[in-house]
């Protein structure tokens, strides 16, 4: 068979099957016609091109046990308004990795949201890994979506930057490790969880905006902040809640251990509650606490 015939065969094949599967069985997501692109089956999905949407949600994952590899590409929105979101996750066991989400700047827009769907009957667990979520209204949202079901989301090795409201806001349990949280109006607003080994730079325009804003008020609203660097934020950590009055035996507490604070307008804002415990924190204001 001549090379010309091989090329002809290849072109014919490409024409009838436009990038449905990668060689390794992963479903490729290329030029998407109807938005949002719906993922309704478990499996492995990979972008094969940048995806730019015009004022629309880009991808919605309704299935559980899905890995969405952005493959280094970018999901972006042009002329976004309203509540358009880059990636909506409704299932559990969903990992989004290796790419960027940017430009979802509607008043209620966000880069990525983890929220159980109408048919979700279990708690959801999800992960972001090696992601850049930047220049959206909010970067990552984990809202409270059920009175009895909960969300736990991990953010690992990622950059959450330049979002005009929150970088990350979680009403449930969250785990942030080895990430850069920079230049958001508020870096992380969180109810409970742990933030470890991360860097917070330039968050907040004026106090109490800043690096981390703690919102938990009950027994499970506990937060452990360890080995982080806070630099140039308005308020590095804001922890003030009226927890004790409502939950006298199980108020939230904040663990603050081995963090470094440099050049923030305020390192720590602490009200009567929650109690803050820990040690080995160092501040450029000359304190060790």
């Amino acid at each position: 068979m001549s090379k010309q015939k091989v090329s002809l065969l290849s072109c014919f094949a490409c024409a009838i099957l436009p990038s449905l599967w990668a060689e390794d069985g992963t479903t490729l997501i290329g030029n998407v016609g109807v938005l949002p692109y719906l993922i309704t089956q478990p499996g492995s999905y990979r972008l094969s091109a940048n995806m730019t949407v015009a004022n629309s949600t880009a991808i919605q994952v309704t299935a559980s046990n899905v890995t969405l590899d952005l493959n280094g590409f970018t999901i972006s929105c042009s002329a976004c308004s309203g509540s358009t979101i880059g990636i909506v996750v409704n299932g559990t066991g969903v990992t989004v990795r290796n790419g960027r989400v940017t430009g979802f700047t509607g008043p209620e827009g966000a880069g990525i949201i983890f929220r159980g769907g109408a048919t979700t009957t279990s708690d959801i667990q999800g992960a972001l890994d090696h992601m850049i979520v930047t220049k959206n209204t909010s970067g990552v949202l984990v809202p409270s979506w059920s009175a009895s079901l909960h969300s736990t989301v991990e953010v690992l090795d990622s950059t959450i930057s330049d979002n005009t409201h929150y970088g990350i806001v979680s009403a449930d349990l969250i785990m942030v490790m080895r990430s850069l949280i920079s230049n958001n109006r508020c870096g992380i607003g969180m109810y409970a969880g742990m933030v470890v080994g991360s860097i917070f730079v330039g968050n907040g325009m004026q106090p109490p905006e800043g690096g981390i804003y703690l919102t938990g008020v009950d027994a499970y609203g506990n937060t452990y902040l360890r080995d982080n660097q806070f630099s140039g934020n308005a308020t590095a950590v804001y922890a003030s809640a009226n927890g004790l009055a409502t939950y006298p035996h199980h108020p939230m507490i904040v663990g603050l251990t081995a963090n470094t604070f440099t050049n923030n307008l305020q390192d720590l804002v602490q009200g009567a509650y929650p109690p803050i415990s820990g040690g080995n924190n160092v501040s450029s204001k000359g304190k060790v606490f």
Partner: protein, 299 residues
Amino acid sequence: MGFTAGGRSRRAQHPAPQWEDIMSKRNLGLIFCMLAGAPAALADDGTILIGQPVQFPYVISQPGSYRLSSNLTVAANAPVGAIDIAASSVTLDMNGFTISCAGCSAGAPIGILVTGTDVLIRNGQITGFQGMQGLGAGVSIQGTNAHPVEATMSHVSANNNGFGFYSTPGSTMTVMDSAASDDYIAGVAAQGQGIILRCNIIRNVYLSTPGAGGIYVKDGVVSDNLLSNVDAGIVVAGNARVVNNMILGSDDGIRNQSGQWAYGFNFFGAIGFDDVTPGLGLSLNNNIGGTGIGPVRVF
């Protein structure tokens, strides 16, 4: 009898294929199979691709690099696991796919059984391997003292199994950057050496069964994990260093069974009874707790 994958890359034997080779009848068949969406045997990079086999378990009997090319679904109550890694020096990339059991309820089903050593499993989900009385495991590392096995799981999520990750005495199991949730007995249970790092271990139910808890470890290191479990967050049965973990909402934070321990920089929140149960040989440093009835303390 299961299927055996032991082939080496033919590409290595023929580094410069000619057009005649590419367009052979065999490869034309492979091309058409790929066009039809059927799993191919080899990736371009020489990795061996694993699609849904006709019969389980899919046995890996040769060293090499393997990658899933689809979800694998085991029928209910299959007597054996989905993948059996019998060879040593194997990397299994799950490629974002899921290995699941549809309706397992009998016996002790296993998603991935490892009896070879120096094995790496990465990047996927394992769910549904829960049999009679909650037995079963997403991943089971089965070394012995006479035949020690070392295996590492990275970026693997094990949900709704009997154990998420399980290893026998004689095994060294490393679980890192992974998750285990809603497993019936324990998220991670290392009966031998266990190294559990940066994992999210939640809602695993502890049934007062030996080898249970959010994390159960005989000897080893447990560090930088987030745990929220029903009964015990971490159970330590030997000599272990448990540091930098956050443990929430459990009856006991760390439960000691025997051995020598060092616990430091752990955070205990909303613990029902003891942050750390009393024991001998205990070394504590800079832990934060006391959200049960009592003041917040550093100990």
